[in-house]
């Protein structure tokens, strides 16, 4: 065999994102003593034969999507179930081998959409690790106790501090360019320069040197924070973890909440949860997503919120929405348009939101819920689908839920009522609240409103005066909050034609266009990862130099050299 199988002929499995620590195959979450020390150890211990797809072995602690699904689960549970954890040590359970990164056979044998989706999800998880450090009082420390190559080092880069064992053999490396002809695309190139502040010429040397760097030089080049001799290793790691835990904002004596498995009904034509429903229209290439607003009593105390735990509507809804987004992105590639609606009582939605607003500063759980919803919204921002919000009577796009509409590429609002509906009740309304002015920032650091009205701060300031008020279609249109306000006579036809027209356009061009429009203004490390690094990586992925039969990715491990088309493009 001169190269691995043709990736685009293989079929991919349907992916489930369900996981729980009791059944992890690749990670060991060690919470022994966490109650006293505030430190959890998360150990990577890959089961070679536990790949998500047949056809490759996860050697050298290398990972695939299945490994990352468990990692994501661990990050979530650490935040919600283990408030006592103030620092997380990310390390390896294998001897002299931290992590070799994404499995190359897996990458070489995967179709393009799978590779792209895999990278997006792993990027989101690493961003989540940084988010936990910054907003949850859970500082992540990479205890690199063996060689960390490629994605392995990128995982470490997501941590606040990187410790490297000084055994004269363990190194950190980004060997993608020299060995595989692709990029360290899970934030590697970006974090080396933007986060670790490695000088660009050194970064260039580092990223083209397959064996990487170790020891003092790695420290000098800022690739790691410190190197520690083997015999002091455990002690030093515990010391650094304790130091980080000491600075944590997490409250003492807090009790976490369980995250039970999601109740989900799947059919050929949709997925439904308690608060979120998705109906597939395969002929039209779209999925209709409805988020149901809160029902039942609003908790009157923060204790009641803790009691409700995963049943508290904002958290329950966010978990379901998260799961839906992940499933649709991984499994429903041809449903290119997501039509997003909400259904519920505006007043109830606002009441729940007041609970969040009131306690998100002083209660760790409420704070977690807020940041979780923020991360799920960010998933929408980087979702390669056309997102269309339909704002109809009976919807509850208010405050935090309005962010869902604002995350969409377009917003259509019904002016008045549909003829067949009874004209009772109220016409469609949206409500701005403080939530829309920075509580849920996008990856570019701006609120969705500030992105929408980029460069027009005075308009955003004007909108700020309008919080709390019910805004109907014509006014919403005037305020620039919706794309179109259509009355009942036009509604059906306009929406149908718009959706059909959208479905007829090139999916690739749409993805590129939408990503460009969604992220305006300033670049952040996050946008640089999702835009520059990812876009370049995805371009490289489709080039024959990487994924052609003679490309570096496909020839890796075959004993044959890659044949490059030497023309620079």
């Amino acid at each position: 065999m001169t190269s691995t199988a043709d990736p685009d002929r293989d079929t991919v499995p349907t992916v489930s994102f369900d996981a729980e620590p009791g059944s992890y195959r690749h990670w060991r979450l060690d919470l022994d003593g966490a109650a006293e020390t505030g430190v959890a150890y998360l150990r990577l211990d890959i089961d070679e034969d536990g790949g998500l797809v047949p056809g490759y072995q996860l050697k050298m602690n290398s990972y695939d999507l299945g490994v990352d699904i468990e990692l994501y689960d661990a990050t979530q549970r650490l935040r919600f179930t283990h408030p006592e954890v103030r620092a997380v040590v990310l390390t390896s359970a294998k001897d002299r081998n931290f992590c070799a990164g994404a499995n190359i056979r897996m990458l070489a044998g995967s179709p393009h959409p799978w590779k792209v989706n895999f990278c997006r999800f792993t990027n989101e998880t690493r961003n989540g690790i940084e988010d936990a450090t910054e907003h949850s009082g859970q500082t992540w420390i990479a205890a690199v106790n063996g060689t960390a190559a490629g994605g392995g080092y990128e995982m470490a880069l997501a941590c606040e501090r990187i410790m490297l064992i000084d055994d004269n053999s363990s190194a950190v490396a980004l060997p993608e360019v020299p060995l595989l002809g692709v990029l360290p695309g899970t934030g590697g190139l970006t974090r080396v320069t933007d986060k670790r502040r490695v000088r660009k010429d050194r970064a260039d040397v580092f990223a083209t040197r397959s064996e990487g760097l170790r020891g003092k030089q790695a420290v000098e080049w800022r690739l790691v924070d410190e190197v520690v001799p083997k015999r002091q290793w455990d002690e030093k790691v515990a010391e650094r973890a304790a130091e980080a835990a000491a600075t944590s904002s997490r409250p003492a004596g807090a009790t976490g909440i369980e995250l039970p498995p999601l109740q989900r009904t799947e059919t050929a034509d949709g997925i439904s949860y308690r608060h979120v429903r998705a109906e597939f229209d395969r002929a039209a290439g779209l999925v209709e997503i409805t988020v149901l607003g809160p029902e039942g009593d609003v908790p009157d105390t923060v204790e009641r919120v803790h009691e409700l735990g995963a049943d508290f509507w904002p958290l329950a809804m966010t978990r379901e929405l998260d799961d839906l987004v992940l499933r649709l992105r991984a499994n429903e590639l041809e449903l290119g348009t997501w039509v997003i609606r909400t259904k519920g009582d505006v007043e109830d939605a606002l009441a729940f939101e007041r609970v969040i607003a009131e306690h998100s500063r002083d209660d760790w759980l409420v704070n977690e819920i807020r940041h979780y919803f923020k991360r799920v919204l960010k998933r929408f921002d980087v979702t390669p689908r056309s997102l269309i919000a339909l704002i109809e009577p009976g919807s509850c796009f208010a405050g935090a839920l309005l962010e869902l509409a604002l995350a969409c590429d377009r917003q259509y609002m019904l002016d008045g009522f549909l003829e067949e509906d009874s004209q009772e009740g109220e016409p469609a309304q949206i409500v701005l609240t403080d939530s829309n002015f920075g509580v849920f920032p996008m990856g570019n650091g701006l609120s969705r409103l500030a992105s929408r009205f980029y460069g027009d701060d005075s308009h955003v300031a004007k909108l700020r005066q309008e919080t709390g008020r019910r805004i109907e279609a014509v006014e919403a249109m005037e305020m620039g909050l919706v794309t179109e306000a259509l009355d009942d006579i036009d509604w059906d036809d306009e929406i149908r034609i718009m959706l059909e027209e959208r479905a007829s356009l090139s999916p690739d061009a749409l993805t590129g266009m939408e990503a460009n429009h969604r992220f305006v203004g300033p670049e952040t490390m996050e946008t640089r990862i999702f835009a520059r690094l990812t876009a370049w990586q995805n371009w490289i992925f489709v080039r024959p130099n990487a994924s052609g039969p003679e490309g570096a990715l496909r020839r890796y491990g075959t004993g044959r050299r890659a044949e490059f088309d030497r023309r620079r493009v």
């Binding site: 179109e484 259509l486 006579i489 036009d490 149908r496 034609i497 059909e500 027209e501 479905a503």
Partner: protein, 470 residues
Amino acid sequence: MSIDYSEKIPNNVDLAGDRKLQRALESWQPNFLNWWKTMGPAVPTEDVYLRTAVAVGREGWAHFGHVAMDEYRWGVFLAERNHDRRIAFGEQKGEPVWQQVPGEYRADLQRLIVIQGDTEPASVEQQRRLGETAPSLYDLRNLFQVNVEEGRHLWAMVYLLHAYFGRNGRDEAEALLQRNSGDLDSPRILGAFNEETPDWLSFFMFTYFTDRDGKYQLGTLKESAFDPLSRTCEFMLKEEAHHMFVGTTGIDRVVARSAELMREHDTEEIAPHGGIPLDVVQKYINFHYSVSLDLFGSEKSTNAANYFTAGLKGRWQEERRKDDHVLTEDAAHIDVVRDNEVTTEEVSALIALNHDLRREYIADCQTGLKRWNRVLEKAGVDRTLYLPHVGFNREVGLFREHRITPKGDVVGQDAWEAKKDQWLPTEADKTHVRSLMRPVYEPGKIAGWIAPPSNGINDKPIDYEYVHLA
């Protein structure tokens, strides 16, 4: 305002039960009437003996009577629906036709309808002042008939925009009234529709040659997979036939009168005797024919190919053609100029669809020439009129780079300039034709430069009072 829909706007599209359409037309109709008053026929009339379509059946579509023109009942009619109709060509051949606009083709279909719609009111604007010099009440009536029907064709296109294209459609319908022929700021879309129709010879030529282009365009849209467009165009074609009749018989009568004068005075130089010399008739033919050929677009057209493949616009009499109706494997020959000679080049049949339609049109135009030459022959005049070469005087397509004589020779710019006045109407020709244009409003009387018609309208006598002037 409220409208009694069935009475005020005759229709077979259930206007009374369609709120969307009502609302759209309610705001559009006053603007249309306003446009008609300011841009429509300039001669004030009390009433005109007009044909009104009140239904699509055999009796309904030609209902005659005297009506005040601004009370003309512009209606909305589609040919009867064939429930089994299937797409006859293109990639989706064999599938059921569309009753709604597929979103994928919204922009293209809207564009096709807007371009067609834009020509309809344009000709009314171009002919606005012609009534002031009508050679008879019979002709004046025909002019008005053509005008109100172009108005109705505008309605037909507006109906499609209103019924199927949502807000964009309404905006485009409004814009059809805002663009005006010859307006410097906001002209009509196609160049030929921004030229004034200055005299009746031009009018007859226009209705013969340019309206015939309309007939062929409608014929291709009649094949469309978008069924409402197809049915609309099918019905419009019935009315278009009358416009061509006005052109054909108008030129008949000019030729007959010229022949008569030639014989009477035994000279071809009949200008001093109040006639239009056959040389001038030929030059007008040359001009109007070549300008109309331009309307078919470039010989090679990827737009036309795309429209065909998508099922939006077919070929003339698509269903009678004996081929696969997909054309991806077929070739066609188009005219090109190579080494200063007109020759042909083989291209994909899909790319050559404009050429295909133009060829059908040219064959149809020939019938008029035969007819007029028969008139000359009968009158004993030894002279024939002809269609110039397809490459003559072209501003659009592959020939625009070249100067080609009516006979088809490629010549240099100098040779062209030297002979141009022999081929195209000169200022002197136009001045002479204009000098003959004096109104004759007395029933049964006719101007001296044109023969009387052989029959009246709807079996009425020629001296019938077709028009009551105000």
